[in-house]
Amino acid sequence: MTELNLTLKVWRQAGPDAPGSFDTIEAKGINDEMSFLEMLDIVNERLINDGKEAIVFDHDCREGICGTCSLMINGQAHGPQKGTATCQLHMRKFHDGQEIVIEPWRATAFPIVKDLMVDRSAFDRIVESGGFITAETGGASDANLTPIPKPVADAAMDAAACIGCGACVAACPNSAANLFTSAKVSHLNLLPQGQAERYSRVEAMVDTMEEFFGSCTNHGECQEACPKEISIDFIALMNKDYLKSKFKNRRMLSRR
């Protein structure tokens, strides 16, 4: 166990439309076994003890699965460790005396709520427009009726692992949400159950996505930032399905 003395530069912003700026906060005596958010907990506890307002940041499960946590840490979404959400990032990845700059996700579609907290509702809007298989409760047939080849189930699971944290958008130089959207699309479009709505799904979800986010120019930055290491191969799959949706979807599907 080592003790770290750190200098934090934390973005503080009182509200969505308020101006913001970096606040320099000394974080002394941080145990390197701590997680990054535990470090922030301690900083907050000290701020409260000093009569100051605690830093607002989103967090919940702290197991890397709920996708609530965010943070741009030293210019990297979820910090320096690959495949790791901020809540699972540990202080042993930092060194004594280091300056750590913490900024909120920045995208027009993710307005800042306060300090480091942003509103990611745009993701919900994308899912609401088509990120589902219409399967009303009670009407399902036996689960083993349709065998699904293991590689297909595995590929769907790879896509479904997305935690919706928004790191892909945050990391993308264009604030594109193609990795998120393609993960949601691919999860369902790969499975036999998802075929009926395959093309209407991709069309609706992409169109909704484009109301909020930028466009993909294939930097690949999202894949590197993704705490679940979701592959940009899914973006290609979405592109292909979107093209098909426009050129094949219309009468051809019903004519067959």
Partner: protein, 638 residues
């Protein structure tokens, strides 16, 4: 208070079918005339809101998260039980029912558990239809694994992320209903009070977590699906924001709170590494399929794990419970770990864990197979501890994880307040004194998809033609005023200690006195200490910031305030229940071998606590439990 469980007549296997036929229905065209509030959007709440929306009701769904997909159901790792018997190893609805009643140490209601086992098979079908990517075999059929407390393979899973995938399934269906306009979603909105008018649930008072604005919402019925209260221990596997406020506020408005002392300590969590830690991380119980649990035989053995020879290792679960071995139920496994660590045989820098060793499994199956089964769990462990479980055994220790207790509900999942329902972990109904692994997901989804949407019409049907109580009713106005006063109160105390500080201290008391092992002295002490600490909280709390914008310190203050009152009910319940059963272990009541000793003569009942206005003096009501199908027996996993 009268506790009418409304269990339908007939043989156990026909009760649910009979009920569904006998209940009153609401005609599809009339459903849009009803408003229903669902609080919480995890498995139970999200599934209920989506299904009710599909059926045609007007649903308002509330979550304090930014999105329904964040609910803590998402963190469940291992799997979900279902009596599909796809493996042909002798599973059946009756066996799942039997295992669950027995696993709950005979403190659950038989009829509810049977219904749960019946619906379990539909859940798998439903989830698969929604596109939940359950693990498959090479032939394309669904794969299963085993979990604690069962000798059949009935656990369906999606890698180590089963809860996530099931919740995303629920979320997708809920999102569809939101998109269609059948459900209105209020995010980042926290329930502050439940409003009861003329003895019936009239609506809720909520606080917008972004603006601090307090508003009221009324409906024909209110469903609480707000999860459990393990965070009363401060350190638990629950998400940071899990809290008891919704259930507790309902309790204060007349809903009885059942068996608050039934808490589950999960045996396989990563041990605490320092005193500032705020959250413990669970390692799925599924690891016990292939991992062997051991501790050194001697307390003085400080050698690294790989240098301790076989002869000096004590595989204590395999030794004490030869037939179930490492797959003993959670309460049994947890207490056994406590015994080892208390005897000084703990491992790790703080000597606060035992080993979960995969070397045998890796030798037998190869690293690749183990990686396929548990790769993501191993990675998570390594990220947290900087040790690779492929090379050194994991260190694990029990941590508070799940609460079997909760709002008392009848067979219809209605609390003692008519029109107020509780589903999922928020109610008490199905797990008795101990929950078996992979059963929480099952219960949440059964309640949300299949039970509540069927039972709620029985209450709503006679209300046809009525409109919800308007929110300018004096009861709503009074509740809103009280809520505003409550939060401005926290801000104006101006003391010296943060809500977290008090929470930490409360958690210490609860872990020591009301944790894995409870004693009369300890509980009595806790019942003196908690109110004293609560009084200090009211005098010395410090909340910085304001009440008009996002203020997580203020949110926490409200939650901790309610934990203080709940903690007293837990200790009181634990003190009154003079027996050991499941997760409730009273040191005074154990066999010579150290196993839990039940007292069926005096305690084969549900204790449902009634609010009196004084958190230290609630009234204890009982609902007797009868066991017509599974005979009361000493639970043995030997």
């Amino acid at each position: 208070m009268e506790l009418n469980s409304k269990i339908p007549d007939g043989p156990i296997a026909e009760k649910w079918t009979n009920y569904k036929f006998d209940r009153k229905l609401v005609n599809p065209a009339n459903r849009r005339k009803y408003d229903i509030i669902v609080v919480g959007t995890g498995l139970a709440g999200g599934a209920a809101a989506a299904t009710l929306g599909e059926q045609g009701y007007n649903v308002k769904a509330f979550t304090f998260h930014d999105s329904p997909r964040r609910a803590h159901s998402i963190a469940a790792q291992g799997g979900i039980n279902a009596a599909k018997n796809y493996k042909g190893d002798g599973d059946s609805i009756y066996r799942l029912f039997y295992d669950t009643v027995k696993g709950g140490d005979f403190r659950a209601r038989e009829a509810n558990v049977y219904r749960l086992a019946e619906e379990s098979v539909n859940i798998i079908d439903q989830a698969t239809a929604q596109g939940v990517p359950f693990a498959r075999e090479y032939g394309g059929l669904l794969d299963n694994r085993s979990f604690g407390g069962a000798q059949v393979s009935r656990t369906f899973y999606a890698r180590g992320q089963t809860g996530q995938q099931l919740l995303l399934g629920v979320y997708s269906q809920l999102a569809r209903q939101i998109g269609l306009g059948n459900v209105a979603l209020y995010n980042r909105t926290e329930l502050i009070d439940v409003v009861v008018v003329d003895g019936e649930a009239a609506g809720i008072v909520v606080r917008d977590l972004l603006t601090g604005e307090v508003t009221s919402h009324s409906a024909h019925a209110v469903v609480l699906a707000t999860g459990g209260y393990s965070n009363v221990f401060f350190l638990s596997t629950n998400a940071m924001n899990c809290n008891v406020t919704a259930a507790w506020r309902a309790h204060r408005r007349g809903a009885a709170f059942a068996n608050p002392c039934y808490t589950q300590i999960h045996p396989t969590c990563i041990p605490q590494s320092d005193e500032f830690q705020s959250k413990l991380t669970l390692m799925s119980e599924s690891l016990r399929n292939d991992g062997r649990i051991w501790a050194p035989k001697s307390p003085d053995d400080n050698r690294p794990a790989d240098q301790i020879p076989e002869d000096d290792r004590d595989y204590y679960l395999e030794r004490r419970y030869p037939s179930f071995g490492n797959l003993a139920p959670r309460d049994v496994a947890s207490r056994a770990a406590l015994v080892e660590v208390s005897a000084g045989k703990g491992v790790g820098p703080l000597k606060n864990g035992v080993y979960l060793d995969f070397s045998d499994a890796i030798n037998r199956l190869g690293e690749k197979v183990i990686e396929e089964r548990y790769g993501n769990l191993f990675e998570m462990y390594e990220r947290i501890t900087d040790e690779s479980p492929y090379k050194v055994p994991m260190r694990i220790y029990p941590a508070p994880h799940y609460t079997m207790g909760g709002l008392w509900v009848d067979y219809e999942l209605m609390t003692t307040v008519p029109g107020l329902y509780a589903t999922g972990e928020a109610n008490f109904s199905d797990h008795g004194a101990n929950r078996l692994g992979a059963s929480a997901l099952m219960q949440g989804l059964a309640d949300g998809y299949f039970v509540l949407p069927n039972t709620i019409s029985n209450y709503l049907a006679p209300k046809l033609g009525t409109t919800p109580i308007p929110t300018d009713h004096p009861e709503f106005q009074a509740a809103e005023a009280a809520a505003n006063e409550r939060f401005s109160g926290y801000l104006s105390i101006g003391g010296t200690r943060s809500p977290d500080h008090f929470h930490h201290e409360l958690g210490q008391i609860m872990l020591t006195q009301c944790g894995m092992e409870r004693t009369k002295e300890g509980l009595t002490q806790a019942l003196a200490d908690i109110p004293a600490l609560h009084a200090e909280f009211k005098k010395d709390l410090r909340v910085t910031g304001d009440g008009e914008s996002t203020n997580q310190t203020l949110e926490k203050a409200g939650r901790v305030d309610d934990f203080f009152e709940l903690a007293q009910a837990m200790c009181l319940d634990a003190l009154t229940r003079e027996e050991s059963c499941g997760g409730h272990f009273r040191a005074e009541h154990q066999t010579e071998e150290g196993e839990a000793q039940r007292d069926d003569e005096h305690f084969a009942h549900v204790a449902a606590w009634e609010w009196t206005g004084d958190p230290g003096k609630p009234i204890r009501n009982t609902e007797p439990l009868t066991f017509d199908n599974v005979h009361l027996a000493v639970r043995s996993y030997k």
